[in-house]
């Protein structure tokens, strides 16, 4: 299992502290993406206090579990529904990615929003995620990889050093990148 994802998926279960009026408060389960467990707990409180009358001062976390990909060796389409804060205001977005893990897709999503919209990670709220069937996908960037018998050339090939230590800033000769 690769552990080089920046964001991990956690399932967090929390509730309001038992009171005399309500000795068995209902449990709330949430799936959040965070860099570690501590941040995941913080995210849980951030969202739950917007949704329910529960906050960190009067609540407790029952369980925190990291969720791992069931089959990280199969390519899937991931859909991500988002709420993002831009310089002007809040927007909703739907994005699709192709990857083998949900964590990989979420990492792609953060990179994509940073690149296309200059949106920082702290301004992104993930509303919902899903694994999409091929026929459920909408975005052309994902649809182009569903073609039967897909094939394409790599027309531009940069020969790179076999290891990082063999990298050099300056080369004696200009590389030939054409590939036929």
């Amino acid at each position: 299992m690769t552990t080089d994802f920046k964001y991990h998926q956690y399932q967090i279960v929390g509730r309001h502290l038992p009171t005399e009026a309500n000795p068995s408060p209902s449990l709330y389960r949430m799936k959040v993406w965070a860099v570690d467990e501590v941040c995941a707990r913080s995210k849980f409180w951030y969202f739950i206090k917007r949704l329910k009358r529960v906050k960190k001062a009067n609540g407790q976390i029952i369980a925190v579990n990291e969720i791992f990909e069931k089959d990280p060796t199969v390519v899937k389409n991931f859909g991500v529904w988002l709420r993002v804060l831009s310089r002007t205001g809040y927007y909703n977005m739907f994005k699709e990615f192709r990857d083998v893990t949900m964590n990989g897709a979420i990492d792609q999503m953060y990179q994509d929003l940073a690149a296309r919209h200059r949106i920082r990670a702290s301004c992104i709220q993930i509303i919902k995620t899903a694994v999409l069937k091929d026929e459920e996908c909408k975005r052309p960037i994902v649809l182009q990889f569903h073609k039967e018998g897909l094939s394409f050339p790599i027309p531009h090939k940069v020969v790179r050093p076999s290891e990082k230590k063999y990298r050099s800033t300056f080369k004696a000769s200009r590389p030939n990148v054409a590939l036929f």
């Binding site: 060796t73 199969v74 394409f152 050339p153 076999s162 290891e163």
Partner: protein, 127 residues
């Protein structure tokens, strides 16, 4: 189209970076414009960047993401890895490996053999 080595399901590629350097793998699915899912008999299937692999002329007749035993069967029936070793590229890699593995005496013998050969060539040219 001048291109004969395409990124497609079944294409045999060689990894040219990292700990799997020099390993022959098979593209079993295309993830996106930059990555493919690769597989080989002795590895766990994983996505890999096109940047870090070189495509070979060989292509297996397999479906998307085959089971390991189907992949091995396809490799055995097509003998793609063996055929690769017989190509100029494969021979170059083998000779490079042999040279790196040889000791000082081995290199000395190669030098003597080369001298003897070039002497014969020169003598034949002089006639």
């Amino acid at each position: 189209m001048p291109y004969t080595r395409l990124v497609e399901v079944g294409r045999v590629a060689m990894i040219n970076y990292g700990k799997d350097y020099g390993k022959l793998v098979v593209i079993v699915d295309i993830v996106d414009h930059a990555r493919a899912l690769i597989d080989a008999p002795d590895m766990v299937r994983k996505p890999f960047f096109f940047k870090r692999m070189a495509l070979t002329e060989f292509k297996l007749d397999i479906g998307k993401t085959p089971a390991k035993k189907d992949l091995i069967a396809a490799l055995n029936s097509s003998k793609a890895f063996d055929n690769f070793a017989a190509t100029a590229w494969g021979k170059k890699l083998a000779s490079r490996k042999a040279k790196a593995a040889s000791n000082d005496f081995g290199r000395f013998k190669a030098m003597i053999a080369k001298k003897a050969k070039s002497a014969k060539v020169k003598a034949a040219l002089k006639k």
